[in-house]
């Protein structure tokens, strides 16, 4: 047994020598007299002590020195905790839901919750509320930055959708495009030239917004495009796509998106200029009823206007 201890110590030294990890072959080369069985036992001891990491690559198994800080923290943990920790680590910055941890580890829920509480108090993992389902908590390693899909990205701060921020961006983008269209109109050139010069690329809009400095978060061109899309759904802006040479500023996959402020194609339609068109009790109204054209208060107000 003492021999195993010595062998473990020697293997550990080797690992420290090669921080990127060592294979069985390396160990064999260094200690040729070590039999495979004894080697295995020594490695297992180090693993159970939590001092080594077992990894697999294309060549075979790899043994690596475990990070001492976490190694010391994990010393008191048992295997179950280590398993859970491993699962959470694998989930990366997207985090993992407690139910999924249960599926992957096959441990009972009570155990899982105990372990999670433990790990959290040791500041090894943290819980992040997902913006998709506000009651769902995902767990990830303590020092990781949560992925955008969890936090909601630029539009969310602490789980709250920043409507005001979005609204401000919406207005600023529209103002930018509007002034560009006006400049084009004032230039008094032919209609086709006017139209073309009233377009702005998404890159141009992005640059303008960045320079305005109204955002405390970094906004990407994609973010700006989602804002511009809402302006399209408002009927205030239209978009065309043109082919662009690779490498042109702002082009993505050989294309560029162009945006332009536009007017509505019709004035508000006749029906809505009349009280009935906007009336909340339209369906209840009929001649001779309690609500009727003859006694309609909305009409009375509108007529006296």
């Amino acid at each position: 047994v003492t021999e195993i201890r010595i062998y473990s110590f020697m293997i550990k030294e080797l690992c420290q020598q090669f921080p990127q990890g060592i294979t069985d072959q390396v160990i064999q080369n260094d200690m040729p007299h070590l039999e495979p069985q004894q080697r295995a036992m020594a490695i297992n001891k180090l693993l159970s002590l939590g001092q080594l990491d077992l990894l697999r690559n294309s060549a075979g198994l790899l043994y690596r020195m475990k990070d001492t800080q976490t190694a010391s923290k994990m010393k008191g943990s048992d295997n179950q905790e280590k398993l859970v920790y491993q699962i959470i680590e694998d989930a990366g910055n997207k985090g993992i839901w407690s139910r999924e941890i249960r599926f992957k580890s096959n441990l009972p829920l009570t155990e899982i919750n105990k372990i999670l509480k433990n790990l959290e108090s040791k500041k090894l993992i943290k819980a992040v509320k997902s913006v998709a389902a506000s009651k769902k908590k995902v767990y990830m390693l303590y020092n990781l930055q949560p992925d955008r899909s969890v936090t909601g990205g630029a539009w969310y701060s602490d789980q709250d959708f920043e409507s005001e921020f979005v609204e401000v961006l919406n207005q600023q983008c529209f103002k930018f495009l509007q002034s560009k269209a006006e400049a084009a109109r004032d230039s008094k050139q032919s209609p086709m030239v006017q139209r073309n010069s009233s377009f702005a690329t998404s890159h141009e809009v992005w640059k303008y917004i960045c320079e305005l400095g109204i955002s405390k978060v970094d906004l990407s061109m994609d973010d700006i495009e989602t804002i511009l899309n809402t302006l399209i759904y408002d009927g205030k802006v239209e978009m065309t796509v043109i082919a662009a040479k690779e490498g042109t500023v702002g082009s993505v996959d050989g294309q560029m998106k162009l945006y332009r402020g536009v007017n509505a194609i019709i004035q508000p339609t006749g029906l809505v200029k009349v009280p009935c068109g906007l009336c909340p009790v339209f369906d209840d109204c009929h001649e001779g009823g309690e609500i009727s054209p003859s006694n309609c208060i909305y009409m009375a107000e509108w007529l006296d206007f």
């Binding site: 539009w155 959708f161 409507s163 979005v166 919406n170 209609p191 006017q194 139209r195 989602t226 804002i227 899309n229 809402t230 399209i232 759904y233 408002d234 009927g235 239209e238 536009v262 007017n263 509505a264 194609i265 019709i266 508000p268 339609t269 006749g270 029906l271 809505v272 200029k273 009349v274 009935c276 068109g277 906007l278 339209f282 109204c285 001649e287 009727s292 054209p293 003859s294 309609c296 009409m299 509108w302 007529l303 006296d304």
Partner: protein, 487 residues
């Protein structure tokens, strides 16, 4: 026929032709084609009044007759046309368009023809000349030839057309059709003929019309009657007897449609969806895709309604659904960038108003709600139909309110009319200014204000009817165009 459509037609008929015609017309609209006896029995109206009502309706093209369905020999059946009656709402727009295109002369010609239904060219010209003369300076009058000129122009541009000649049921058509008077009418006419199936539809007849408009002076009532009698006995013929003209509504509609498209394009400077390239002949033939144009105008109308009724954020959601067709709740929130709670609220409101529909797509055969996709969607055509019915109800509401307001102030209106008549007669007989002011003061200031406010109300309601009719026009054109496109 929907209840709203019948209600609106009833109101229009009553205002323009009176109670009796309204009764007969509404009855026909509700019950489809009927023969004379049935109408008399079911409406409880005397036979001669029914006959007169039918005449009025036929004269205005609102009713057509055809041989009975039970085969030759069965009584003639009459059928009212809902569409034609609805056109009454659009008369002001037709008259105004004629004015912008052909001046006051054009305006009056169209107005006369709309009021009378069918008229010969010569009687139209004479009446219009008289009316124009009335408004001219003393000593001036309108030449018949000038009016005839405008009339011919209206015919050339197809705004006026000949009324199709009537075939008497059962009578054999002459073997050698006379090209001047009876252009080729087929022997067995089972399909309804349009005015344009007759070759001379737009041919101006050769009329001898020499003269000028006659000015009527002093009081109108007595003179009018005497002149009317004289006209009846007047054997003056002008060579166009039996050739009657009517307004060609479809031609006006084409004009409105073109106007709507042009203004939409002007608003956007270009709308490449409207113009498609079809073929390369002559350096590229460009085609205005009318159906697409109308669909876009209808879409803009729907969007406008949602925007005004529910606000710009709901309008954003609506436009988003129109573009992307089917979206889940979450996707709507993400694309529209509206917080989840508010987006949900707005979607449910739109859903309850039937402007937005839910499509279920089950993932599993048991249709369990937790395993089903629920997609929001907008169906443009049914939504347009629904809004059109709303328009009909709205116009009917406006007309009813106008009638109500008039009825409320009936006493006051009658008083004001009496006073005006007294004033007019006093003025004609050369009264003293003091007498005139005395009479004027019979209307107290508060009454004057009431009259003024009533006038204001009536005008507002009137113009509102026209505005809603614009919406009706766009939606109807779109629905009709879709029906023919998908056939």
């Amino acid at each position: 026929m929907t209840a709203q459509e019948v209600r609106l037609c009833g109101l229009l008929l009553q205002e323009h032709f009176g109670d009796v015609v309204e009764k007969v017309g509404t009855h026909l609209l509700r019950n489809g084609a009927q023969h004379l006896r049935a109408i008399v029995q079911e409406t409880g109206t005397p036979m001669d009044l029914v006959k007169k009502s039918l005449c009025v309706l036929i004269q205005h093209g609102a009713c057509a007759f055809s041989s009975g369905r039970k085969g030759p020999g069965s009584p003639v059946e009459y059928q009212a046309s809902f569409e034609r009656i609805l056109r009454i709402l659009r008369y002001p727009r037709y008259i105004y368009t004629a004015k912008t295109l052909y001046g006051d002369t054009g305006e009056l010609i169209i107005e006369e023809l709309l009021q009378r239904g069918h008229m010969t060219m010569s009687s139209t010209v004479k009446t219009v000349a008289d009316r124009l003369t009335l408004n001219m300076e003393e000593g001036h009058s309108m030449e018949y030839s000038e009016v005839s000129n405008t009339f011919s122009k209206l015919v050339e541009t197809h705004f006026l057309q000949r009324c199709p000649p009537v075939e008497v049921a059962g009578k054999a058509v002459s073997a050698t059709p006379d090209p001047a008077t009876t252009p080729g009418a087929p022997a067995n006419n089972t399909t309804p003929s349009t005015p344009e199936s007759f070759a001379d539809c737009y041919k101006v007849p050769h009329v001898t019309l020499i003269g000028r408009g006659k000015r009527r002076n002093s009081s109108e009532d007595g003179e009018d009657q005497r002149n009317a009698k004289r006209a009846k006995e007047d054997p003056e013929t002008h060579g166009d007897e039996g050739i009657y003209w009517q307004v060609n509504f479809e031609r006006f509609h084409l004009h409105f449609r073109d106007q709507a498209i042009i203004s939409a394009v002007a608003n956007k400077l270009d709308q490449m969806e409207f113009v498609g390239k079809s073929g390369d002949s002559g350096g590229g033939m460009y085609v205005v895709n009318l159906h697409r144009a109308l669909a876009n105008l209808a879409r803009a109308t729907l969007e406008s309604v949602v925007q005004e009724r529910f606000g710009s954020r709901s309008a954003r959601i609506f436009r988003l659904l129109l573009r992307k067709r089917h979206l889940e709740q979450k996707q709507v929130e993400d694309f529209a960038m509206i917080p989840a709670k508010e987006a949900k609220d707005m979607l449910y409101t739109l859903l309850s108003e039937n402007l937005v529909q839910l499509q279920e797509i089950p993932k599993t055969p048991d249709h369990a709600p937790s395993r089903t996709f629920y997609l929001y969607t907008v169906n443009q055509l049914p939504t347009a139909r629904m809004l059109l019915q709303n328009c009909f109800k709205t116009v009917a509401n406006l007309i009813e309110r106008r009638l109500f307001e008039t009825k409320e102030s009936k006493r006051l209106l009658e008083k004001s009319q009496r006073i005006e008549a007294i004033l007019a007669s006093l003025q004609a007989s050369g009264a003293e200014p003091e007498q005139l002011t005395e009479v004027e003061e019979m209307i107290t200031p508060p009454e004057k204000q009431q009259l003024e406010s009533l006038r204001h109300h009536i005008n507002k309601l009137d113009s509102a009817e026209n505005q809603v009719d614009e919406t009706i026009f766009l939606l109807e054109s779109y629905i009709k165009s879709t029906a023919t496109a998908t056939r």
